[in-house]
Symmetry: C2
Subunit: 456 residues, 2 copies
């Protein structure tokens, strides 16, 4: 052993060594927590901004969650009864913006998951334009593709065998890519694009904003009577009203785009794996990560997949690799949660937790609507869900609310009560209807219920 | 002090404590290195893929860097003389793909920077569609905007005061957004879009692929003689030939889009801050992060910025937040490197390091071209660079190579030597020319020089 100088006793050295131990233990603990705290702080700053897309035209003082609420709100708050709303300092002043389907409801679930889906990207990773040149979609990250296939298998909501995956900057870009791919390049007149009303409010403007010679919005599919080729959009469950949908046109020469953004077990019973020619999905509504701008298409025909890829090449030269890698990690965590669900006490999957929250919100909303007598909501039949293994009610991401008692313009009526929604006319329907987001943060949703309950 | 049981001496405890110290010290060291190594491993896997965009039509065996090369290649390799090329096991079999401007050259610089630009994003961050509702571009991350302004100030290549920043999924999307914003919605016929040849090869197809009624590609600006409104694209330094450009049309009613993707100090002397109505930049060519798909526009007119934002809303409902945050971190590191350059021995800025590498590559290429007698390259005049503070030669990101001695189709000629380039006809120019990327990885670039030097 090393000779110890006389002025140091063994005791001195031991104390010194123990002190060093303590400092090192603290350092190890601190470093593993530090990153989380740092980013938590950043996200808190970000949280206190508003929610309004240009379309709403009303950038005003918007209702927000308080810092306290963000820190303490559990994803599935059994205490979120309307009785507790008196805690919310409202005074009827704040504008509640439920115009968009901003899925901020999911933030608290992912906060609870902690580091599980944290992604670390060094500065020199994913610099190239290319991800996989062997793939028809050469900018598709293989890890993202792998997690998409795994998730669909666990959830049972779509067949992936023999499909080409095309990744997009959200499913919006994939919708445009699909229109491009399905429209003949040399046609004399543009393809008619139709969807049964009420249809997603952005379809008409997305189809026509470029004044494309390839495709043209032709309105409600139920009143479509033109001969020749067409593209029918089928959103199921439907945005805005939440009903399961099938093609309504019985003609030859039609191409179908299935937008299944909401065909996930928290919103609707999963009856069987979708088996269409061209199906769109998005992380925005499945996991709540709208800010990533990641969607994917499952495409049967190679040539259509190739043309969709070409569209995205000309439009944006591919799709953010960073977001694809992050999305892969999130999808992996969701699938893992499904595989591990029930393996230990209190372990539930992402979809079980989200289903519970949606069911709770719908129950509360129906309670308020029934007791007010001023509104009505769609009624859904229960159906067997292969994922949950039981008969369940749909709980759509939007409430398709109807104003009763002579209110002709429900959007204006609710705006008068400082509730921003999207009126029925945007969806090819009556202005007596509005679409209300069910996916906002807890505090905003509670404030909405409180405000609605005061309308007599 | 705690009483020690008889069978433990102080010496025993001291040894135990010291052992614990050692293990904790190792853990602290290991944990800080581990992340880097993990991702380094991931990136190495990713590195051994090819580089080919659909347009080239030739997905074949592509020349790659060896693992050894990736691990050891410094960003500015003073040893990269052509003499050392005998080390490369080539045998003339591999296809060298320099068709695209994939900026993989920059990987080694960012590897050397280590953790400086590593980004950590927890699963619950940036979930909303919205970034800043007070901003005309509501999906623009404030931190990204801040770093854009800071970088332009340090580099001196663009005025940002009184400008609106619009972020895009690469500058491609911003180009399309600018066309949309500058074209009147109710015009009888589409706006003519022109650029002086040789022009960027993607402009014609990007302008026309949607068969838009808003705008139409009208070819070489120098032969444009139609009256009425038009949009002129000015790429400066120009892609493909590297020359500084100004508007060539002298008419009223024209709107200008300045694509300054290459107006950075590694490529060209910075003469003065650009002060245009609408200027486009991209991280792909400034820092080399093409996979992020992040570009930005500096826009004088609020209404144009608003319409560009609307285009991106309809096209992709915003831009990946993950990539914006990562880009912010990379731009910050670049600006920091400029501010700290020269403060200590051997500290040079990102642009100084990149300039050195570009100068070295151009010197080597000119050497090969001059001694072969089969090709020619553009000659540039030196100009004063405000950033570097001296007279400097341009070193463009592409070499605009001309085949001499009766070779009419330079692209086919080089393909015969297994070198993929983009032929002059794509740029509205003679097929005697090809565009060659100068931004590929070291090993690929050396292999290119070696292959070129064997053509007699």
């Amino acid at each position: 052993m090393v000779k110890i100088p006389g002025f140091f006793s063994l005791k001195h050295l031991l104390v010194l060594s123990l002190a060093l131990n303590v400092s090192l233990v603290l350092r190890v603990l601190f470093e593993s927590e530090n990153q989380g705290l740092h980013y938590y702080g950043l996200a808190l700053q970000k949280k206190f901004r508003g929610t309004s897309m240009e379309e709403s035209g009303s950038v005003q003082k918007v209702a927000h969650v308080s810092k306290r609420a963000v820190l303490s709100t559990p994803f599935s708050s059994s205490s979120s009864s309307i009785g507790s709303l008196s805690e919310v300092e409202d005074g009827g002043e704040k504008i509640i913006n439920l115009d968009h389907g901003d899925p901020t409801m999911y933030e608290s679930y992912w906060q609870k998951m902690g580091e599980k889906t944290t992604i670390v990207i060094p500065g020199w990773q994913s610099m190239s334009y290319f991800s996989d040149i062997k793939c028809v979609c050469w900018f598709l990250e293989p890890e993202f593709a792998k997690q998409v296939v795994r998730l669909h298998k666990v959830v049972g909501n779509a067949a992936t065998e023999g499909r080409h995956i095309v990744v997009g900057t959200g499913s919006s870009q994939l919708y445009l890519a699909a229109l491009f791919a399905l429209s003949p390049q040399e046609a004399i007149e543009p393809m008619s694009v139709i969807s049964a009303a009420p249809y997603y409010s952005s379809y008409p403007s997305m189809t026509d904003y470029q004044k494309s010679g390839l495709h043209k919005w032709a309105g409600d599919a139920r009143s479509f009577n033109k001969l020749g080729p067409y593209i029918e959009l089928i959103t199921s469950p439907n945005n805005p009203d939440g009903f399961t949908r099938h093609s309504v046109i019985n003609q030859t020469g039609g191409a179908l785009i299935h937008d299944l953004a909401y065909y996930w077990p928290q919103y609707t019973p999963i009856s069987s794996p979708a088996d269409n020619n061209l199906t769109l999905f998005t992380v925005s509504k499945s996991t709540g990560h709208a800010g990533m701008r990641i969607g994917w298409a499952l495409v049967k025909d190679l040539e259509i997949a190739r043309r969709m890829t070409k569209f995205i090449e000309l439009n944006t030269i591919g799709v953010s690799k960073d977001s694809q890698l992050r999305a892969a990690k999130v999808l992996e965590a969701v699938t893992d949660s499904c595989e591990q669900a029930g393996s230990s006490k209190n372990s539930e999957s992402f979809f079980e937790a989200s289903y519970r929250l949606m069911a709770e919100r719908w129950q509360q909303l129906r309670g308020v609507v029934n007791s007010s007598g001023r509104f009505s909501l769609p009624e859904f039949s229960p159906a067997f869900c292969q994922f949950h293994g039981q008969d369940l009610q749909p709980h759509p991401a939007f409430a398709w609310l109807k104003c009763l008692k002579g209110v002709e313009d429900c959007e204006s009526f609710l705006r008068g009560h400082k509730i921003l929604t999207r009126g029925g006319k945007h969806f090819g329907a009556s202005p007596q209807y509005v679409r209300v987001s069910m996916l906002d943060r807890d505090e905003n949703f509670r404030l909405f219920l409180k405000r609605l309950s005061t309308i007599r």
